[in-house]
């Protein structure tokens, strides 16, 4: 029942996008995110669509997977569109009682919808083509220069990979405890929201206890194997920018700079 949850659903394929350096992928996703908010006309969104379609094609990820990923975000998208449509001031197109829809509101709502759409697709492409471990490696790599400013880059990355590693374990554990409590007559489905929340206590307490025990044991196991944090630690897989990474990063950076300059100039 609870096993249907998937987080960071990486799909293994031997594609160009998969092979890119995780730092490249994280950076261009960020560039893309900024860029998308600097664009505000339909023709340019067509280009964005082409770019996205090309990336999906090259990543060899089935299109259905990506569309499925959009589903949970749908309510958020609709809400954003409605909020923008109703609460933007400008020339009134239509009004009834306290509701007023303006031309500017409609434009903005449309653009916001499109932006969120692209945002979700591009970021889910990132997690679909990069395994969680590679992703945390990439984040560590990107944060490393910040060590000068006392940012604990390695610790953050280690925490993230441990958290990701334990998600399936905790899901199994939850499933097991839920069953045990159900066998004792617990009821998680019926009742109002307060009753339902209260019914979670018999799951959460054992879950927390086992999580802390596990954390303790893991810390001990890591120490026993000589883990002392970042210092002196070598990597099995060193991250390295290849030519393709450099070219793509350069192109995206140029594009973003162009968009920023245009925004300021106009």
């Amino acid at each position: 029942m609870i096993k249907d949850i998937t987080i960071g659903q990486y799909i293994y394929k031997d594609s160009f996008v998969h092979k890119l350096d995780p730092r490249t992928k994280i950076l261009i996703s960020m560039f893309f995110m900024f860029g998308i908010f600097l664009i505000n006309n339909i023709t340019e969104y067509v280009y964005v669509l082409l770019l996205t379609a090309m990336t999906i094609y090259m990543s060899q990820i089935p299109l259905m997977k990506i569309i499925k990923g959009l589903k949970p975000i749908l309510p958020l998208m609709i809400l954003t569109v409605i909020m923008n449509a109703f609460f933007t001031s400008g020339t009134t197109l239509f009004s009834w009682a306290f509701i007023r829809i303006t031309r500017e509101g409609l434009y903005l709502a449309g653009f916001m919808g499109i932006r969120i759409f692209f945002l979700i697709i591009f970021t889910s492409l990132l997690t679909l083509t990069t395994s969680p471990i590679t992703l945390t490696n990439g984040i560590e790599g990107l944060l490393t220069p910040l060590k000068k400013f006392k940012v604990p880059a390695h610790e953050i990355a280690m925490m993230m990979s441990i958290a990701l590693r334990f998600i399936p374990t905790l899901i199994d554990e939850t499933d097991k405890i839920m069953k045990a409590q159900k066998a004792r007559g617990a009821d998680f489905e019926s009742g109002n929201i307060i009753k339902k929340t209260k019914s979670l206590v018999p799951i959460l307490i054992p879950l927390f206890i086992s999580a802390f025990t596990r954390a303790d044991e893991l810390a001990m196991a890591m120490e026993a194997r000589g883990y002392r944090g970042d210092e002196g630690r070598t990597k099995f897989k060193e991250l390295k920018y290849r030519l393709a990474d450099k070219v793509i990063l350069f192109l995206f950076a140029v594009l973003l700079v162009f968009l920023i300059i245009r925004k300021i100039a106009l």
Binding site: K176, I177, K179, A180, Q181, K182, A183, R184, G185, A186, D187, V201, P202, I205, P206, I209, S210
Partner: protein
Amino acid sequence: MAVILENVYYKYDVDDNTSEEYGIFNISMKVEQGTTVGIIGKTGSGKSTLMQHLNALYLPQKGKLIVGDFVIDKKSKDLKNLRKKVGMVFQYPEDQLFEETIYNDLAFGPKNLGLSGDELNSAIKGAMEDMELDFEAMKDRSPYELSGGQKRKVAIASVLAMNPEILVLDEPTAGLDPKSKNDLLNLLISIKNKRNLTVFFVSHNMDDVFWLTEYVYVMCDGRIVLEGEVNEVFKENQTLKDLDLGVPFSVEVLEHLKNRGIYEGPLHPMRLESLAALIADILRGKND
């Protein structure tokens, strides 16, 4: 309560029509009221899946179960009344403890079933006494400050507090030290007799299965591959070994004696005292 299973199937991934991976496949069994049956099989053979059908944590996708007056098939509802009758002790049951006091933890099950007042109190008291836990001294203590063996007893008491008529024990002694293990098994035997329970005992320890049970089902890949009276099943030395299972210690010893040509009788499983007597007889015979 008697338990009857009729051609029960369960598949984890229902949508996957290509896969032949069944959790359990065409299981039929008939367990009389008051008997203790053993379920053995290697890890992943479907034992736990089967046990979780007995109180409808899983509903059979095909076939049906008859537990006392309850008939369970894929559309069954009102499972609470069934769960009241079938007590499940999972592996490492102490993981389910969550209340501040032992009393409250034991009250969780019966309260869910609608018990209150004196009825609740006597159910808890009875369960604790049966598990040899001192009611007055322990009821207000936290279950977390107990030793492993005591915690296990509290967890089992929390199931007994629901006054089940069938008890499912999934590896109840896993991780316990030898003394706690023997104490617990002895306790379970006396509880079974006192409460006249029907018991399902899942274990990897063949000596425990031989000691506790009367009838044994052997599972492999979700199917029952061997069943019978405990004495009969444990004679199938080779079959059990082929299934990655063992035989009771006594059978192992007898087989070695047979291989060395100093014993010719059947490979009966037996208690250690009887085994010692048998070996003593052989030795005396040799000395003559």
